[in-house]
């Protein structure tokens, strides 16, 4: 074999798996040369803007667009009546429901799209929006999912009156969407009823919003002569958008090109299909000109895909010494006016049934009731796999509640109930097969890193000092050990609108030994162009610097289901590795021919095939690539290309241990995060720099959600948090410093053992921050208080506990 320095040098030159390769995207972005949807400008382009409902529930009696149409520069005003002949006044949602594209007779939430104005300029379009006269007759509003189930609650969805069977089974009330369940209810109840200790709690995960810095938008352009529609947009799943656009419009799929250009953050907000897209397509077909629609921030917060709004009630049973015996969960899920969740079709509550978390719970059951209210539709996975952050928050709060009931340390309670390393692959009581994990090692490392025992001692002393009147600040220690489930998913049970959730990679090696890879996913900041090239570099021995990665253009990229739910690395990353292996297999045949040996006499060595026992005889991948284009090799087709459509055998289960140490000022409700330690295990690590960046970002989104961010409504359905003045996004000033750490437990079924990480910090972060707040008040009798823990709510908690004297 080669001597060591040469081997190491060649390996390092690949910039493959495990190295903190600098991002190839950055030169463009730092110079302002990104190409986001609002940067797209086409000749003759028109601008679309929506007339939106000021009411949360009202009958639309009339729409008068005369004055708007009289304004110079206004080309068209579309209403449901215009879309109806095309069958586009309603559209299917990803959740098996349907949604109004434009108000059809009534409006069901504030901010709902009523009419679409098309004008030559965005200012004129905005002026015209003001000139459209809509006559409303307001109707009773329901914003509470429990009141929505009263027998005499107003009927929200008149289109579904009398429909007793929904997309996910029977509907038991006119505002009920579905009941979905998993596990064995009788078994769980028996385990809990017979338990020595039972804790019960209702935990609300409030309504919030992904709020990427770039709002949603598109540019639709119909070439009427060639019959070709081009659609640029903020799409996390461009291929699915093409299929949906074809099914809705009747335009053949090959005549539709969907392009996701650079995307300014997605976080689940850009998975769905929104009325703006449909209206822009109709408008370009009607006018024959390109039409741009980009929503503003208020529209984004009010109308475009909220997240969470889960009322979760849990019962958990345990032995006196803290061994959990059973878990029962019931969720009332507020879906707003239309069920527009973006979940795999068979899972109307996403993967909420990962709610047994990191724990070996022998009996469990969960049920979720989806309910209509007069709120915006959505329920998307805001930086998490489908409803997984809800599940993680639920179990990590329930553990804390149980620890209080048991009078036990919550760290010890967790360790006592963790699934043990030797139990993997582990089948949970709710039916998941966890692929791999080593929770105790991660947990011990985390506790040690923060000096857990000393912290508890300090906390106890602080409580005493507080009681003596020597301080007004309390100390909270927020613990979390989360298990995610990502990488949807096996085609056998995961699909979006019938499309199996595989993903893909196509590789073409150029004659001089560089390459292009195209994938079915689309980066929104995750750095795919950097990391997928790294996966490939390690597989095929071509430096990542010589591999271009492209995504997002449906005319060139292979079909894939897109980027959300941390599925890119688990699914498309696997496809990339598998396509790389196909390249290598063909390269081996070519090398054997060139070296005049049998295929089996060769072995792979970093970037070349070497004749076994004769290290001086080899062909590098670059040499093989060249040969594949310029030599007639018997029995081998010219060229060096491969494609892989990867159907994962299972999901992956990243996990982590997070600890937040928080100071809370009892008199002002302000908090200060003194320390945040995040240990993540995402299996094989592709690029540690990017992993760390993902963790910082996810934790900051978790900080926002836990500590202040919400979409709040008043009783008549007005959105109270519709601007960034009211909707909390932390600045550099409020954001703490994070310490990151890791363990590495590869996924046994993933070709390179990677599990995905982008969403872990949000899933684990929210309970860590929230548990810290709860823990600060634990000594004063607090068991549960709802997020977001803004200053006012924390102050109120302190007051209610009698701490203001």
């Amino acid at each position: 074999m080669k001597d060591l320095p040469d081997t190491e040098e060649r390996k390092a030159g690949l910039k493959g798996l495990g190295c903190s390769r600098k991002r190839v995207e950055d030169a463009r972005f730092t110079q302002g040369k990104g190409n986001y949807v609002d940067d797209i400008k086409m000749a003759g382009m028109l601008h679309g803007d929506f007339v939106r409902s000021p009411y949360a529930h009202a009958r639309v009696k009339s729409i008068n667009a005369e004055a708007a149409l009289a304004l110079p520069g206004v080309i068209a005003v579309l209403t449901a009546k215009d879309l109806e002949p095309l069958g586009l006044h309603w559209m299917p949602t990803l959740a098996g429901d349907k949604q109004m594209v434009l108000a059809d007779g009534k409006v069901l939430f504030q901010g709902q799209e009523v009419a679409f104005v098309v004008a030559t300029d965005r200012y004129i379009a905005a002026d015209a929006v003001d000139l459209v006269e809509v006559d409303y007759e307001d109707l009773p509003v329901v914003v509470d999912p429990f009141k929505a189930q009263d027998p005499d609650a107003p009927v929200l969805r008149e289109d579904l009156e009398g429909v007793t069977e929904g997309a996910h089974g029977p509907r038991r009330h006119h505002n009920h969407i579905f009941t979905w369940e998993a596990g064995d209810e009788a078994g769980a109840n028996a385990a809990i009823d017979g338990a020595e200790v039972v804790a019960e709690e209702t935990i609300y995960y409030h309504r919030t919003h992904p709020c990427p810095l770039e709002t949603c938008g598109c540019v639709a352009s119909m070439d009427k002569v060639n019959g070709k529609l081009t659609l640029y947009g903020t799409f996390q799943a461009p291929h699915v958008v093409r299929t949906v656009a074809s099914l809705l419009s009747g335009i053949d799929e090959h005549n539709i090109r969907v392009v996701s250009p650079d995307i300014g953050g997605g976080f689940g907000n850009k998975v769905g299909v929104y009325p703006g897209y449909v209206c822009s397509i109709v408008a370009t077909i009607v006018t024959g000109k390109p039409v741009k629609w980009v929503e503003d921030r208020m529209e984004n917060l009010m109308a475009t895909a909220f997240a969470r709004d889960y009322w979760m009630t849990g019962r958990i049973g345990a032995t006196k010494d803290g061994r959990i015996t059973g878990l029962h969960a019931h969720v009332t899920a507020d879906h707003g006016a239309f069920d527009a969740c973006a979940d795999p079709t068979k899972f109307p509550a996403g993967f909420f049934h990962i709610c047994t978390g990191s724990y070996d719970i022998p009996a469990a059951y969960c049920a979720v009731d989806g309910i209509y209210t007069n709120k915006a539709p959505g329920g998307v996975a805001y930086r998490c796999s489908f409803r997984v952050t809800e599940a993680a928050y639920f179990i990590e709060r329930m553990i804390e509640v149980l620890a209080i009931k048991l009078g036990m340390d919550a760290a010890e309670l967790r360790a006592k109930n963790f699934i043990r390393k030797e139990q993997f692959p582990y089948t949970s009581a709710l039916g998941w097969e966890y692929d791999s994990g080593d929770y105790h090692t991660a947990w011990d490392k985390a506790l040690k890193a923060v000096g857990y025992e000393a912290l508890r001692k300090e906390q106890a002393e602080r409580v005493e000092a507080f009681k003596r009147g020597e301080t007004r600040k309390l100390l909270g220690i927020g613990l979390t050990h989360f298990t995610e489930i990502v990488g949807a998913g096996p085609v056998k049970n995961c699909d979006i609108l019938g499309m199996g959730m595989f993903d893909s990679c196509e590789i073409r090696i150029h004659p001089t030994g560089s390459a292009i890879a195209r994938l079915g996913t689309i980066s929104q900041g995750q750095g795919h162009a950097t990391t997928f090239a790294q996966i490939l570099a390690s597989e095929i021995g071509i430096s990542a610097d010589k591999i271009t990665v492209e995504e997002g253009d449906t005319d060139t990229a292979p079909y894939g289901l897109g980027t959300y739910g941390s599925r890119s690395t688990p699914v498309a990353g696997a496809a990339t590795a598998m396509a790389g292996r196909k390249i290598r297999a063909k390269a081996q045949m070519i090398a054997a021919y060139l070296l005049e040996v049998h295929d089996d006499d060769l072995e792979w060595d970093i970037d070349r095939f070497v004749v076994k026992g004769a290290p001086e005889r080899f062909k590098t991948m670059a040499e093989i690539a060249y040969a594949s284009y310029n030599q007639a090799i018997p029995g081998v087709e010219p060229g060096l290309e491969a494609v892989s459509y990867y159907d994962p055998p299972n999901m992956t289960y990243p996990f982590g241990a997070y600890i937040c140490v928080m100071e809370i000022d009892v008199d002002t409700g302000e908090h200060e995060i003194r320390q945040f330690y995040a240990l993540d295990d995402c299996g094989t690590r592709i690029n540690p720099m990017i992993i760390e960046g993902q963790v910082h970002g996810g934790l900051t989104e978790a900080l926002a959600i836990a500590m202040g961010q919400e979409i709040a409504y008043d009783d008549i359905g007005n959105v109270k948090t519709g601007t960034l003045m009211d909707f909390f996004l932390p600045t550099a000033w409020e954001t703490p410093h994070y310490t990151t750490d890791h363990t590495e437990t590869p996924s046994p079924h993933h070709p390179i053992g990677a599990k995905g990480v982008g969403e872990s910090p949000n899933v684990g972060g929210v309970p860590a921050f929230s548990n810290a707040v709860h823990d600060a008040f634990r000594a004063f009798g607090l068991t549960q208080t709802h997020m977001p823990h803004d200053h006012w709510r924390i102050w109120k908690t302190a007051r209610d506990l009698g701490l203001h004297g």
Binding site: T30, G32, D38, K41, Y123, G264, G693, L729, A732
Partner: protein, 164 residues
């Protein structure tokens, strides 16, 4: 719609003349008339800072500045910081320290950081965090942005010293 006004302004050292309505926002003139699409629109309410440009020696949010207010102004955007064949130190440090992900906030962030370092060439971490608090980022959690700006300050100071 009122009559358009004749607007003269200098952007990144280049003189521009254009017509704009009195109500037209600077960000729209930059992006749609002059084709300067580095500054982005994230909120239109001055909160997010994606549209930050430098005007007359100050960071301004171009989404809430009327183009009329920029009459005769000297404006620098992210496009004006580096050279055609090389990145500005700040751009380089943002790449080096992974100070960006989706890139949408980045032009505003870097333009703001540039002004911050003009005003305070050797800021502390706290001063950077405070000085950058008008610019929101949804991806990075700021830690690497702060690191990048501090590293850029060091390098810029070293370059200044070497030049003296």
């Amino acid at each position: 719609m009122s009559d358009k006004m004749h607007l003269k302004l200098t952007v990144n050292g280049e003189a521009h003349e254009t017509l704009a309505e009195p109500r037209e926002l600077l960000i729209h003139v930059l992006r749609e008339q002059l084709g300067i699409t580095g500054p982005h629109i994230g909120c239109e309410t001055s909160h997010c800072g994606a549209c930050t440009v430098d005007m007359g020696g100050k960071s301004v949010k171009a989404c809430t500045v009327f183009a009329a207010q920029a009459q005769g102004a000297e404006i620098t955007t992210v496009e004006g910081l580096g050279a055609p064949d090389g990145l500005h130190v700040l751009q380089e440090m943002f790449r080096e320290h992974h100070g960006l992900q989706c890139g949408f906030c980045t032009p505003g962030m870097i333009t703001r950081a540039w002004r911050l370092l003009q005003d305070n060439p050797s800021p502390t971490e706290e001063e950077v965090r405070f000085g950058m608090s008008g610019n929101l980022c949804r991806c990075t959690g700021y830690q690497n942005i702060v690191k990048a700006i501090l590293a850029a300050a060091d390098q810029m100071n070293a370059m200044k010293e070497a030049a003296e």
